[in-house]
């Protein structure tokens, strides 16, 4: 048709090319990063370390003493259930 379509096609080819190029590089960079990190700094039990957003939110909202109190309450609750 005209130059507009040509430009659009160019954008598509370059765009998809670049998206794939970037993310493929990222795959290799990520893999490389992970293997380097896990080789030089192996972490024994990372599962427990994993912080998630809700945990943070609770930590913020609830002060440590209160946490102790609640933990105690729950513990009490469980004990009494078992009896």
């Amino acid at each position: 048709m005209n130059g507009l379509l040509e430009d659009g096609l160019g954008l598509m080819v370059l765009g998809m090319g670049f998206v794939f190029l970037f993310l493929i590089i990222l795959i290799f960079a990520t893999g490389y990063m992970s293997s380097l990190l896990n080789h030089f700094f192996p972490e024994p039990l990372p599962a427990a370390v994993q912080n998630n957003a809700s945990a943070v939110a609770v930590d913020k909202a609830i002060d440590p003493e209160l946490a102790v109190v609640i933990t105690a309450a729950v513990h009490e609750h469980r004990n009494s259930k078992n009896v």
Partner: protein, 390 residues
């Protein structure tokens, strides 16, 4: 005094209201209805809808520009939406701050556990560029008045990422910003309706039932280093994507590093909420009848739907290809999550997977392509800004 009464009457909406404004107020109310009653991305569509109502009230001056006299004193203050739009949207500040907050809410863990899923996030961006061609064809054929910049901005709807769409549209096609943002958020909300039929059409029952091996545990260190790697790659390969990716990764780094929890907490709560309110009102300000009530908007809504569909399809097809050539099984459904629309698209993949196999929990597997899709859209946005602007 009669003249004053007449003035007052002439100031009323009843006297001044034009049909276009009336229609746009109804559009705004429709968005509010969709947000509240249908749960369509209410955090954005509610402010956008109210913003649309406000900007179309004749004589209320929500978009009035401030007037200064010769020595620079303000003689007439501007409207609320004028300041919001020009201060935060035209400048790109609000989308970038939203991106920072979203980064601070994002967990790259599933993606890091299986980096191959980044390919799915790449493939799903085909929806973006296919739509660009569609828009260009409409423009080239003279049906609609789309330039290349317009076409690029419309295509980004297929990225299924609101802030990216607003950021690109504010730079390439500000006049279409309202329609593009509405289309982007509406279709993101419609993901549970749009995607499943496409996913089912392109996969067999057996494929949908494929179980994937449990993801390995990702260490804290990997999560901390990853956003830095992304920033550096953006710096090296695509600086025009660096604002979006940089703020996204900055937010994520604040979350993962564990030493600035109070900043991370603010970025994903007070700050992003404040900016969301303003962003919504600002986007709503572009829903004026002049910009919205024309054939182009219909084109944008149609093309956006096409973009989503093609993105979903190409994600699924890529996942099928990967499943064929990869050692480990890959359920093609997770390819659909590559369009972004975090976390809705991942949930949809999980749901459709559960239909085929009651024990098939794909959610975490789909989160990988899902966040990869955010990066993919940002990269696509960077290419567009560089290609069209440069």
């Amino acid at each position: 005094m009669e003249s004053k009464l007449l003035n007052l009457y002439h100031d009323t909406g009843i006297y001044q209201l034009e049909l276009g404004q009336f229609v746009m107020i109804c559009v705004g109310l429709l968005l509010v209805y969709l947000a509240i009653k249908k749960g369509f991305e209410p955090l954005l569509l509610l402010p956008i809808g109210i913003g649309a109502v406000m900007v179309n009230i004749p004589g209320a001056g929500f978009m009035a520009a401030p007037v200064y006299d010769a020595v620079g004193h303000l003689t007439s203050p501007g409207g609320l939406q004028y300041y919001i739009y020009h201060g935060g949207i035209e400048t790109g500040l609000f989308p970038l701050l939203i991106f920072m907050g979203v980064g601070a809410m994002t967990d790259f863990g599933p993606m890091l556990a299986n980096p191959k899923t980044l390919l799915l996030g790449a493939a799903a961006q085909f929806g973006i560029f296919a739509t660009v061609i569609g828009a260009v064809l409409l423009g080239a054929s003279g049906i609609m008045d789309f330039t290349l910049a317009d076409a690029a901005a419309i295509g980004i709807i297929g990225g299924a990422d609101g802030p990216t769409a607003i950021f690109v549209a504010s730079r390439l096609a500000p006049d279409l910003l309202g329609a593009i943002a509405v289309a982007a958020y509406s279709y993101m909300a419609l993901v549970p309706l749009i995607q499943p039929p496409i996913m089912r059409a392109l996969t067999s029952e057996k494929e949908r039932a494929i179980k994937m091996v449990q993801l390995r545990v990702v260490t804290k260190k990997e999560k901390i280093i990853f956003p830095i790697v992304v920033i550096l790659l953006a710096a090296m390969f695509l600086p025009s994507a660096a604002p979006l990716l940089g703020m996204f990764c900055f937010g994520n780094l604040m979350k993962e590093c564990g030493v600035v929890d109070r900043l991370s907490d603010t970025a994903q709560n007070a700050l992003i909420n404040i900016v969301t309110i303003f962003l919504g009102l600002g986007v709503g300000s572009k829903l004026s009848s002049a910009d919205f009530l024309n054939l182009e908007t219909l084109g944008i809504l149609g093309l956006g739907l096409v973009a989503f569909s093609i993105g979903t399809a190409s994600g699924v097809v890529m996942a099928k290809i990967m499943n064929k050539y990869s050692v480990e099984d890959i359920n093609p459904l997770i390819g659909a999550a590559g369009v972004s629309a975090v976390p809705m698209a991942a949930r949809v993949a999980n749901k459709v997977g559960l239909e085929a196999n009651k024990q098939n929990f794909l959610l975490m597997h789909a989160m990988g392509p899902n966040v990869a899709g955010v990066i993919g859209s940002a990269v696509a946005a960077g290419v567009m800004l560089s290609y069209v602007g440069g």
